[in-house]
Amino acid sequence: MKIPKECQKIKRTGFLPLFVFGGLFASLVPLLNTALRTEVFIHAKSDPLNVLFDANWQMIALINVLLLTAGACLMYHIEYAGRCMEKMRALPIKESAIFSEKCVFLAITLLGVLALESVSLGFCVKHWFSSNETTVIILLKYLGCLFLLMLPAVLLALLIASLWENMWVSLGVGVIGIFVATMLPMEPSSFLSLFPFALPFQTPFAMINYKTKFISAVIIESLVIIGAEIIFLNVRRKRL
């Protein structure tokens, strides 16, 4: 099997350890939380997963967005640091293709992280709750929801990372974006919750209750961000 270019490029940058440890750390959150507050959780009236998401998802989502922002910055840092982007421009590959390859790679990496977190949530249900309603199918469906909610943030983080050749500027802007997102109202009914960095904080329940709203937001935001990247690349090329 051929290793994808993006996967090979980020070797030895600490990218994979970052995501593995970040994912494990985020997966520990519901485990510790449930272990410490078992009584409160299992006596709650609603569905176990609902309880678990309400109690843990804000924290897990914050870790996820921080991970994807740092990951995006790293992925572009290696291109800009050794003037590799210039070498790439002299090769038969479009910069927009490099962007889309990075998007796919980062999205798949995050899917892995989300899967790890879903396994942890599933384990909590199995271990502490006596509910048979939570099946693998439901977990997979929720994983799909979480993945969709994450996509605009992945694209935006990579757009920000591609804008500045200095990684620290991109990282700073990304972190400010995350802070803004955490300060916005999180109710799924509010319009501000659609900010790309705020979307990953939504739970699958919110997404299912407001299906049209969130799905159209994900699609529109993704298209807008991709369009912005294409315009940016064109403008930058014209200025050369």
């Binding site: 051929k2 270019k5 090979q8 490029k9 980020i10 070797k11 030895r12 940058t13 290696i78 640091a81 050794g82 003037r83 590799c84 210039e86 070498k87 790439m88 421009r89 002299a90 090769l91 038969p92 590959i93 479009k94 090329r237 014209k238 050369l240």
Partner: protein, 251 residues
């Protein structure tokens, strides 16, 4: 038949003209030495061929292909090394070449070949950031040679090499047209550096082409204009000096 032909190729930055109405003719299958002092516009011209910067005026064709319509096709068939070589410092020399070979759609053996040709095989598993200056230069050259492209654009490829290395790389470049049937455009500050390698030379100063032709033709031109002809280097220097004088007189 010309591999590269430019027509009044011009690049200006504001009111400064880096490359001025250049008309180059680079014959297919030859080694073309592109000579000029610092800031003459050599790198700027080569960057235009690769689509790294946009010409302000004029046009060029590479192997009959037009820029910008056929940019990807041009790049597919051109190996390049512009200014200091660029690479991923976190990857080994071999991994760096693998990335480029993937983009070019080449087989695994191309990487080993390029490493062998540039003498990097013993160091292929060392991180590129730990390479010495000369090894970095060789890695850049290996990247350009990958897949034996029909056109090679090399900007001062012997920069930072030791005398033995310079000799080695010079012989390597000298052998390329016969081995791979390719055309080589190579830039330098020193005529002595490329007079043994190049079939044709072009001399550029302040963005203007002063001379284009073989070394013999250069000698004839020099004789006709009353320059010293014992050493080619002197002719080159006299040409540049003369041009600089004329420029200051106009101003």
């Amino acid at each position: 038949m010309n591999m590269i032909e430019t027509k009044n190729l011009t690049k200006s930055y504001g009111d400064f003209t880096a490359v001025d109405k250049l008309n180059l003719h680079i014959p297919k299958g030859s080694i073309y030495g592109f000579l000029g002092p610092n800031g003459a516009g050599k790198s700027t011209t080569m960057k235009m061929f690769l689509g790294l910067i946009k010409p302000s005026k004029g046009s060029f064709t590479i192997d009959g292909k037009q820029y910008p319509q056929d940019k990807i096709a041009i790049l597919q068939n051109t190996g390049s090394l512009i200014e200091a070589p660029a690479f991923y410092g976190n990857l080994t020399g071999k991994e760096n070449l693998e990335i480029i070979s993937k983009i070019l759609g080449l087989s695994q053996s191309a990487v080993a070949e390029a490493l062998e040709i540039t003498g990097l095989t013993p160091y292929k598993n060392r991180l590129a950031k730990n390479y010495s200056l000369g090894m970095k230069q060789r890695l850049g050259l290996a990247g350009a040679l990958l897949g034996q492209p029909p056109l090679l654009i090399l900007d001062e490829p012997t920069n930072g090499l030791d005398p033995v290395g310079i000799h080695e790389i010079r012989n390597l470049i000298r052998s390329l047209p016969q081995k791979f049937a390719c055309t080589v455009l190579i830039s330098s500050h020193l005529l002595s550096e490329i007079e043994l390698t190049a079939d044709t030379i072009g001399i550029i100063n302040h963005g203007c082409l002063l001379f284009e032709g073989t070394t013999d033709e250069l000698k004839h031109t020099a004789l006709a204009q009353g320059y010293p002809t014992d050493h080619l280097e002197d002719i080159f220097l006299a040409l540049i000096e003369n041009d600089n004088e004329e420029r200051s007189r106009i101003r």
